[in-house]
């Protein structure tokens, strides 16, 4: 992980147990050489820490935030309520197959968008790809790598 460089993507999750899923996002950012940081901060159990993280994200240099949570999954929304950075949500698996997680995520009120991905690991990977696409609009090198990857993944 490119952790010595100042991170430009923040990956947040509600519980340590979400790490195996959310690390999928990190691995893809790594492969693109994009520095990121990983935080565990629950919207419901650590609301103030979450608020501080989200409201301070822009100032510390983050450009995109990825948030993974399950059940009554409020983490992405809680972060989006505190920042104007793009927030990407990964609804995590749950006893209800992630149904509750995505219902809790995607129907956000006007003015507080959350970019909802698919459920679980596949969604975590795509959160990283969307983050790269967003960064790519600004950094031609990232966009170029994305184009190379797009060609390579064709089956």
């Amino acid at each position: 992980m490119s952790k010595t460089v100042k991170p430009i993507v923040g990956i947040v999750m509600g519980s340590k147990s979400d790490l195996p899923t959310m690390n999928e996002a990190g691995a893809i950012l790594d492969s693109f050489g994009v520095p990121y940081e990983i935080r565990v901060s629950s919207a419901h159990r650590s609301p103030d820490k979450t608020t501080q993280y989200a409201s301070g994200a822009k100032k510390k240099g983050l450009q995109v935030i990825i948030a993974g949570a399950g059940g009554a999954a409020h983490l992405a929304g809680a972060i989006a309520s505190q920042t104007v950075l793009p927030v990407i949500a990964v609804p995590l698996k749950s006893p209800l197959n992630g149904l509750d997680s995505f219902y809790a995520t995607f129907q956000m009120p006007s003015g507080v968008p959350v970019a909802t991905m698919g459920i679980g690991k596949s969604g975590a990977k795509n959160a990283a790809f969307l983050a790269l696409q967003i960064l790519g609009t600004r950094y031609p090198a990232i966009q170029k790598k994305l184009m190379q990857h797009k060609k390579k993944q064709a089956v």
Copy 2:
């Protein structure tokens, strides 16, 4: 509305447009003579105001909080994350029939419960009744009135 007395129940909702629904809860508290206050505070558009309201609720004398929200309905959870008072959630109607509101509400993580009611006006009424039942465990007069009401409502 018994607003001159210090309120012991707080009714919060995410938008002014939720007032007709949430007033159903107020009307029932009124009929039991229980003082309450009504606030509009969105978890996503006014997160700090919501946080302050929730974290200051106990100190100002509230004993129960009723929260109504729709869609990616985080209001009750956001309040519950800041207080140890019982929080009662009313999932409000939405283009998805309130199903999203409900899923966004009831699957809370351990330690941060939210007492979920039915969807819409009927749920708002029951939020008031549950608040009264909670207060009734402490105030015999309320519990007595509830017992009288129970008899009267039999069909």
Copy 3:
């Protein structure tokens, strides 16, 4: 379990097989030193026993009742129909992932509220926490412990 003291919380379930789930609620009440009792009484197979338990609950000193049931889960509603004590429902897992259990639980008619928790063990834990929050409005010691627990659980 603090069973020598007079219980103030009743934990009821429809079948002995629900014990492993509902014991999660008991364990949390234990850790807060709150006396409780556990009963198996099916709304459908032992309706009279259930009715008697619910209608006599207040008199014997119970202040909150927790009810766990699955499928066409009527236990919480059946109890709520007989008492003005707050009734907390835990929809239990089922072949339909608990979908039937919570649909059967949360859409109660006005005047007979049931505080619906999440599905399964996590819901059982939260039922205990909500019971503690309700008791906490009356017993400052419990409320204080809840505040300590809230701080400790932050991640």
Copy 4:
């Protein structure tokens, strides 16, 4: 309505507002000359009345009971818990399109069956037809009329 004769079918519903739907069942029984009675008795608001009705149904000569209820629809199950007469359930329409009514009805525990029909008026009609089919196993005249009706309804 053949009300002067002793009724052999009981039609019960949770609320007066269910009458227009449940009368569809009555109209069909009328057209077959089967005497029935109609009662309003809510499982949640009049649990004791419901219990008495169900437990006394066989003694007073009822042979089948039809129960219509919506939302957390417990009426049919509550009646089935008190009698060994066949109980036919009509899940009534609700803000959730009757889906909650249906889920609350059909997943009954072993030993307490409820014969679930379709949702709303069409279900109410079929509840009457099933009642007639049940009576028809005993009364050849009813079975004969059913066969005539079956031929007539062919399109």
Copy 5:
């Protein structure tokens, strides 16, 4: 199994692989001494056999038919279209958790009722109990045994 006596209940299923589930119904009928027969006949793969079975059921002495099927579960409806005997449906488990099975079963058109039970083995058992309740309206001995069983099953 009381197979030497003339059966009065028919248990039909769409595939041999449904036998372990549907045998639960048979076991209960056995324990009540009610003679029955078991047939495998798919509504879709053996439509004519199914039609003949259903249309000849009454004549051969059957009084109730239990039908178990999964997926686009048409067996109970296909049988009900050919007879005025009460038809009890058991929606069987499927890759969609039985969701397709019961949607395909319970919303029958007026005049062709199907008594829908819960999903899988538990539903199969209740199909037998409902069959017994139906027979019990005619045979006091069965009704009496049902009352004894009801008492015994109380928990």
Copy 6:
């Protein structure tokens, strides 16, 4: 309508009230000059008529059958059970938004396929287009017209 010519497509529906929807299919066949016939035949209320129609369809020159039905929608499956002609199903709208119609239709057992379209009028139109595509594999003129239509519909 090209009704003087021998029809090669059969459009069947369970009830006269389905005509406005299913006529959408006819209108498209008309515009392609494909002769068809329309029949009302319920799988549940006219099972024998349905069986005869399906089993005789090939002999009378039909090459494709379109079947529209709602609720516990068995019509397409019932027809498919009696013929090796391709059967196209249109799940019709219902109180459950056509979801029940759809679930009752598409999960057919191996060997008895039903080509399921979308719900309601849009599905009826596409049933006609699929019928034309099927006929187009044999009749170049129809296939050619379909290619022209495809170009014209581009937006």
Copy 7:
């Protein structure tokens, strides 16, 4: 596999991992002696290859296309957008039980039909049977074999 002969059915899937499921379709075509080809081509990862395959399908002699995909399953629709050959869709299993796969498949706009089968292996088999039925309208030998198979499969 009859691969030396010019294929008349194309089986396409979005990923190599879908082969075990889609081979079920191939096995049935094999048993009927119908030549086919198998391709892996993702609508999202290889859109141009998919477009070329679909738009060239008719010219190379294909008469029916079977497409299997899961999740946001666009493969069948993408192919249907480029050809007037009949396209049969197999919604594949997914973490959401295939729910997303079939919702993404069956509600196609007018003029671009997709013949939706059941989920997974059973759907793959039926896709082959529907392809055979379509071919059977043109090739009497195939239709005859289908009739023989229909008789054999009766249970």
Copy 8:
């Protein structure tokens, strides 16, 4: 509309009838002074036009694409398959309440993300806000306006 300036956001929809909904996105971009263009291009009826639009989007200066579609909603995915620009999806209302649109949209395969918004007009508005947030990571003036808007919208 700032249409004289070179657009940096593309708003695409599958049908002209989607304009009233998608114009909500345009109105918000207008109020932020962000130039955009609006196109109607169906993934299923105009696949080549859609492909060309998507594959040429970056070259012509677009930085973000918003795509609205309903039913088997493939537009966003079809575009995402052809570009490395961020693609924001608005699932549009449908007879199934937009649920089908949503399921068809959000479960994209790894490497081809689609940023899914809520259903209908509210989702269209949020698509514009997310586009602005993405642009804001590059253009400080937009980000500053977003922060002002965030403060203003607090209730």
